[in-house]
């Protein structure tokens, strides 16, 4: 190979590399961690306002007609919602930072995958999007989700080190087709998860194979249910609790 051939090879590398498409971002909703000490006044006020608003939302949705909140103690509205499932080798969990949200508010959900086996690590073959997320309306027919890429990749899971997967939107739909109206809205309404008022089942599904690319030997789905209340309820002032 001459020097010119090498230069040609490198130019070709450049051209091919430029065809790579930047995938949809995996960046997700923000999360602020506020510790129990060292707080400045502003974060304290923000925390107080959010807690008061959350209590007000719950009180209104639980006590008023058509509120749609999941029955339970008020703590359920602001406590994290978590669901998990395992098959003895892998554990998949899905959590949101609260059980109740206001309409239009970003829902900060994240799945984690953990290797539970006896070895130090597990090598597993999966599609590039190892965890696929779906939303489905409880008591309704609106749903959206899926959209995993089909390439097969190796991943190594280390025992005791849960791997986080922030919520990533994906959906199959026919643009403009009313039958897919919700899925289209879901897929095109920004990268952060926001839902209309209602009760929603959020799910994360992991499929992976040990040994080589091929039929999945691990299929896990973790679910949680969150309630989304109308924005007007969320913006209302505090009301006496029940």
């Amino acid at each position: 190979m001459t020097r010119r051939d090498v230069d040609s090879l490198l130019r070709d590398w450049d051209e091919v590399a430029r065809t790579a498409r930047t995938p949809a971002p995996v960046l997700q909703a923000g999360r602020v961690r506020v510790r129990g000490h060292g707080l400045s006044v502003l974060p304290l006020l923000v925390v107080a306002a959010v807690v008061v608003a959350g209590i007000a939302v719950f009180a209104r949705s639980a006590g008023g007609p058509g509120g749609g909140a999941t029955p339970g103690a008020s703590a359920a509205a602001i406590a994290p919602a978590t669901g998990s499932v395992d098959d003895g080798t892998l554990k998949l969990s899905l959590s949101a930072d609260r059980g109740t949200y206001a309409e239009g508010e970003a829902i900060d959900a994240v799945a984690t995958l953990e290797y539970l086996g006896q070895g130090a690590e597990l090598t597993i073959f999966t599609a590039l999007d190892q965890v696929v997320f779906n939303v489905a309306e409880v008591g309704g027919d609106r749903q959206a989700g899926g959209g995993a890429r089909q390439s097969c990749n190796l991943h190594t899971l280390t025992r005791g080190e849960p791997v986080p997967f922030p919520w990533v939107k994906g959906a199959a739909y026919v643009p403009g087709d009313p039958a897919f109206a919700f899925a289209e809205w879901y897929a095109t309404s920004g990268s952060r998860l926001r839902l209309p008022a209602g009760t929603w089942r959020l799910s994360a599904t992991f499929e992976g194979a040990e040994g080589d690319c091929g039929p999945s030997t691990h299929t896990l789905t973790a679910e949680i249910v969150v309630t989304v209340v109308p924005a007007t309820a969320a913006s209302a002032g505090p009301t006496p609790g029940t």
């Binding site: 091919v16 930047t22 995996v26 961690r33 090598t123």
Partner: protein, 174 residues
């Protein structure tokens, strides 16, 4: 895939995304720098699917560390170092796959481009990651050795030697 533990620590966890300026910066970095990170990962691993995966993983880490990062500094070196470490962590796994059988076409590429890529991949397979990356960063991307050394955390002399070795290996091939 080796991610750090991100578990929720004790404390009150709330979503106040609109208050966090930092949230916009990883998104901007993603849009601006994904091609650079991917190209680095591609030259380092010589594996298209692994490069896509590594680039995604590097940005996922950037997202998780967004509050701890010094955003007044360029973020590309952080991403390159992270990508390189991720690639090294998985070197054994990637090598096992590369040795496992004939290369398959990357699913994200059109057939014609995928075939071109497989030819390039074979041609560059004789180079080690540093040789390939030194050559790509300087001869293809047009970076100086001084610029490249900052991204790769090595000396300009080592990079010059690696790029020279890479050219010699390619010229001696066939």
């Amino acid at each position: 895939m080796r991610f750090g533990r991100v578990g929720r620590e004790l404390g009150v966890v709330i979503s106040v995304a609109m208050l966090i300026d930092a949230d916009a910066r990883p998104a901007s970095a993603y849009a601006a720098l994904w091609p650079d990170v991917f190209r680095f990962a591609l030259s380092w691993t010589n594996d298209w699917a692994a490069a896509e995966d590594l680039a995604q993983e590097a940005f996922a880490r950037l997202w998780r560390h967004r509050e701890a990062l010094d955003w007044t500094e360029p973020v590309l070196p952080w991403l390159i170092v992270t990508t390189r470490r991720l690639a090294q962590d998985r070197f054994r796994s990637i090598r096992r796959r590369l040795l496992a059988g004939p290369a398959s076409r990357p699913a994200s590429l059109d057939a014609g481009v995928a075939d071109r890529w497989l030819d390039l991949r074979d041609a560059l397979a004789t180079l080690n990651p540093l040789e390939r990356t030194a050559l790509v960063m300087t001869a293809v991307d047009g970076r100086t050795y001084e610029e490249a050394k900052v991204l790769l955390g090595t000396s300009a002399g080592a990079l010059r030697a690696a790029a020279s070795r890479a050219r010699r290996k390619l010229e001696d091939a066939r």
